[in-house]
Assembly symmetry: C2
Homo-oligomer: 79 residues x 2
């Protein structure tokens, strides 16, 4: 099954990449785009039929590898 | 409103970053994660109340700045 992992910077963490994009957009006339935050969207093809087990393993992988718990938070979405 | 922009590599485009992550996961015992594709998840705070107009402007920004149409595809999701 395809599992979606969303990794975002925690709210209190500055996002210089997002701010740079916002500034470029403002310069191009998109002043209504007032804030940009950039995260990662990972799509995992995972073998397994038991959604609970798959979710648990992917969350483990997030904690171990896919997200940095100091500055990021993750969310796992199953189909 | 907060608009979600999802930018993914087109299916036929190789994703070396995703493949590197897959290999690391396999080395750690996550052999059931058979493929990883990495995209961007951008959260935009956009001024405006007309959902149709906001969507149209954000799609324009995607075409102009946020996605590379040669290798990427984007999707705009409104609340």
């Amino acid at each position: 099954m395809v599992v979606e992992v969303r990794v975002k910077l925690k709210e209190q963490v500055l996002d210089p990449q997002g701010e740079a994009i916002r500034r470029v957009l403002a310069g191009l006339g998109y002043a209504e785009i007032e804030q940009v935050r950039v995260g990662k969207l990972m799509l995992l093809e995972v073998a397994g039929k038991d959604a609970t087990a798959v979710r648990s393993r992917v969350e483990e992988a997030c904690r171990e590898v896919l997200a940095n718990p100091v500055i990021e938070e993750f969310e796992v979405r199953l189909p």
